[in-house]
Subunit: 349 residues, 4 copies
Amino acid sequence: MKKRKVKVGIVGLGRLGYHHAKNLAFRIPGCELIAVCSVVEEEVKEVQEKWGIPYGYTDYDEMLGNREMEAVFIASPSAFHCEQIEKALKAGFHVFSEKPIGLSPAEAERVEKAVSRYPDQVFMPGFMRRFDRSYSDAKKMMDRGEIGDPVLIRCYGLDPAGQMDSFLKYAKNHDSGGLFLDMAVHDFDLACWFLNAEPEEVWAIGGSYARPEFAGLGDAETGAAMVRFSGNRMGIFVAGRNCAHGYHIETEIIGTKGSLRIGTVPEKNQVMIFNETGVVKQCVDGFLERFEQAYLSEAEEFIRCILEHRRPPVRVQDGIKPTLLGYACKKSFETASLVRMKSIAPAGK
Amino acid sequence: MKKRKVKVGIVGLGRLGYHHAKNLAFRIPGCELIAVCSVVEEEVKEVQEKWGIPYGYTDYDEMLGNREMEAVFIASPSAFHCEQIEKALKAGFHVFSEKPIGLSPAEAERVEKAVSRYPDQVFMPGFMRRFDRSYSDAKKMMDRGEIGDPVLIRCYGLDPAGQMDSFLKYAKNHDSGGLFLDMAVHDFDLACWFLNAEPEEVWAIGGSYARPEFAGLGDAETGAAMVRFSGNRMGIFVAGRNCAHGYHIETEIIGTKGSLRIGTVPEKNQVMIFNETGVVKQCVDGFLERFEQAYLSEAEEFIRCILEHRRPPVRVQDGIKPTLLGYACKKSFETASLVRMKSIAPAGK
Amino acid sequence: MKKRKVKVGIVGLGRLGYHHAKNLAFRIPGCELIAVCSVVEEEVKEVQEKWGIPYGYTDYDEMLGNREMEAVFIASPSAFHCEQIEKALKAGFHVFSEKPIGLSPAEAERVEKAVSRYPDQVFMPGFMRRFDRSYSDAKKMMDRGEIGDPVLIRCYGLDPAGQMDSFLKYAKNHDSGGLFLDMAVHDFDLACWFLNAEPEEVWAIGGSYARPEFAGLGDAETGAAMVRFSGNRMGIFVAGRNCAHGYHIETEIIGTKGSLRIGTVPEKNQVMIFNETGVVKQCVDGFLERFEQAYLSEAEEFIRCILEHRRPPVRVQDGIKPTLLGYACKKSFETASLVRMKSIAPAGK
Amino acid sequence: MKKRKVKVGIVGLGRLGYHHAKNLAFRIPGCELIAVCSVVEEEVKEVQEKWGIPYGYTDYDEMLGNREMEAVFIASPSAFHCEQIEKALKAGFHVFSEKPIGLSPAEAERVEKAVSRYPDQVFMPGFMRRFDRSYSDAKKMMDRGEIGDPVLIRCYGLDPAGQMDSFLKYAKNHDSGGLFLDMAVHDFDLACWFLNAEPEEVWAIGGSYARPEFAGLGDAETGAAMVRFSGNRMGIFVAGRNCAHGYHIETEIIGTKGSLRIGTVPEKNQVMIFNETGVVKQCVDGFLERFEQAYLSEAEEFIRCILEHRRPPVRVQDGIKPTLLGYACKKSFETASLVRMKSIAPAGK
């Protein structure tokens, strides 16, 4: 009478990887986490011991040799995504990969081709926001026509100021991809999803304000991009690494008959404090806190797709558009000019 | 072509009196402030000089001898209201009096009798909240049946903690009437107005929490009263002198089809601050800030009633019920028992 | 390397029982749901088949004979709690029981005694709100002194109007315990927890407003209770079954240095809708939606207590006080008088 | 002892003109409205009769011959502002003029020159938002450094959908100036004021969404402009004529240490409605409702400047920058290209 469970291995046990692993191990019906992989051996050991995971690896290729596994969950650093996706698909596994699916238009194209070669394997890119209840409710309202046709989307993606130091330290040694590629990709995905339109032209600006080091890195501390989509639909994107009040993800869609806003006050919980400061709502600290439910729901959906032999609602193509738009923003910011999307192509740059 | 103006004299130039005087002098169509009266001679002089007011008095009876005046505005300390109302009416003036119209059921009854003797003179007690746009909108919604029949009213009247010292100093030498009579009178008026019901029974509790001096005065720092109204309608009243975040006046009416709340966040203005504390709304400091528009509108209405020879929407009877309810709360608090309104009567105590 | 798991059986597969069972089956580290019990055989079959649960019972005593089980989760109708707790403890199991732990002071006393006889078995009553992040954060703030000493607590527990019909149907045939015992028990628990004080005296009022049937049942559609706690601390409780906007659980604690409110706007999610109506926040429908995280966290804590051989943070005593306070309210409402807690005792009635 | 009063004449008695006239007639200390002028004779008559205004004109030049007057208040249609300002200054009057001070860079330059020729006469352009308490508080907070250095400003200026028909009718026969010049001028003023920076480059996009007629007029129903200011400061402006929920004026300033938002929920008052829709805040209908206090305060300040012989806090130069920025947006929108501010000059076009 025991129900069948999908046996999963995960690569990457950093902050988000660890969280995904815990969800896969304990919170997802029909799922069994049997393998963990990280180049950091201690991480592997800790997780195996704490949660009783039978297989541990420090080598990804070795994990792919484990034939008990049916699916691979990729939560490694972005630079490895493209290759790890290709290898896992080739080895016959269902694959979930964190965003971005590639660090360049060319990589994104490679992933798309790989996925199309294995149509019977589930591939799902990690756009968890679509699974957040607020975002999915908003989408349903829009699909029911409650705000008419979408006219403009405004997206804020602001990281807490408290993480700026560690980011700057990291960015001195690694290519983060820059503000627009690294931070705004989720927002670009939401924009395409909500507007149901194609980006056509973009202007991106920004600078260093609190910390001059960003300019030295050729990056922006805070930046803004305006995008003209097909049908003259408008997109406004603000990304930043210096948000005083915490982790601020806000999305607004203005339609012909009404508007929706998600996350205007990025509240931590339902407590309202009244004191000599005034009336205060505390804010969320970071993505794990804000999107806890969404991360769980997307992993559940991935497992259900495998069990039910169906295609996931988020596909490889959904992973490509945001990457291209991120590239266009980066180029616009670096060249201080309007950039047409046509000039950015997977083959291009 | 000059329009007729009602010539007004005011008694009392304290915080609220000064504010009323300024409104009467400059902001009310059809009104001319020609006389000011206060036992503090400097206050009279200052106002006369600053605003060009022709007549100044330190003696109320003397002001009543000024036959250019048509109306008297009473904003003196509560203990004088009853007598000053009687005298002004007898002298033939229209009268506006700040709440309370009397410090005891007996005084309230005296005022009611005086008013009934001069039916052609306008008498209006000062319940400015009814003229506040939020409160008057709420009342209109209720009258349109938008929340069905009223079931319960909850009223908070909380004074800023910053004024506790000066109150304690004052209360050591004067009879403030106690928390329920002094503070909750406006709330009792709102309750009768919104519920359209008669109070029948009351229980009031409270104590000293931050400052033991209140117990010494036989008063409460913060108190709560629950009132059963006719038709089993319910009233909950919280009054206090130690509100950390400012001046908090909140009213909620729960109806059979919906609820209304007024002033839940006693916001100072429309600015929202996002900083390391969280998301902050600053709060109003006191009654002049919160009810600026209401004080102006009630004075306008008083003048219009005189010019148009009509009765004001707030009458002397409206001033009596809250006083009796305040008395019942005081008695309940002091005797630690349920008090029936029938045991409190104008002739009574 | 497999980690030890606590094997659990659950009794009651109604709305809340089903939800608990699903959590126990899939979402709780260290837990394995191996047995389900309900008098409704189809419920048992459905759950066994859907989730692959090996043992199914329609007889509680039979389930207690299953020696693979280590713990019993009681989510049956309230009338069975007392006896089922006693039996499960006697049979050697750890026990989690939904509130209330008894339908009378006498039953509550029986449970307390049973628990004290088996000190090595974990017993935890289900006050999930304490595990809700908003409530637990509020408690931490209070423990850090952020609002000074608590002065007053105000608790609203309002069920959606949409469920009034089914409640009235049910209540015609069953003893619900009445508004104050059935609905306000969670609020009474919160009051004792937050105020850290003993209830001393209570007055409860209420009535039928939208639906006269409540009066016929000797119950109230909406009611209010005011409680004087030790140290003159104040408690205000509003319970109702006719909330137009959904499920409204709100708690406010006023302290000497500030206030906290939890759940003032019982928002469904983070979407704000701007349309011709104004700015709209949608509200939660019911307890499973509002307290999803809390139900999960309390079950996690129960399992952890078993695994770690420690006592739970919520104890049997915590289940008794709210029951007594509910009784006092019921008595006050029925007798239309002030009721002293001293007159309500476990031995009593 | 009578205080000196500034005698004022007003031209324009449309919706805003009438409101200004009423303020000048009744609500402003030190001010006496003695003359009104409008090409619509009935408007003049109505106001004279209703408020007892001694002088009425249908000819502006004739009003300027009234030597009792000291100051002229210009609230006529935008096309007349430039010439009427010049004439009034030349005739020796203090002048207040509604925005815009000119319909083109050339007109703005003419006004600037005229003002500089009469340095002893007070000239004040009507940017009332600076006098709104929320905006002036926000400015003070910024000046105190509470949000650090400003990085980005976002301004929404959205007119109610209910006025779209009448606008379209009007715009078919008149040159409104287009969305960016007509609507966003107040926002451009706020941006310069809050950022304390010079606009350098702009991209404006937009279109017709609900109503195709806008495209036919060469105008946009809703539009967005992104502006790069000196120091890489960023400006985002959304203007529209189709706001479902009412009149939405919102401003956000993101600084290096925090952010401020003004008007995020354009609430009508402090009433919160809880009903089957959810929790609802009603919204303001239009500019007179939203900026009632600001219109009064700016007129008070104008009169005080005359009485106290000092220069107003808003000067002619403040009226010119927003006009130029509006022109740049219009040009960018029409040419679908980035526009540098240097290419827009008073002499230019």
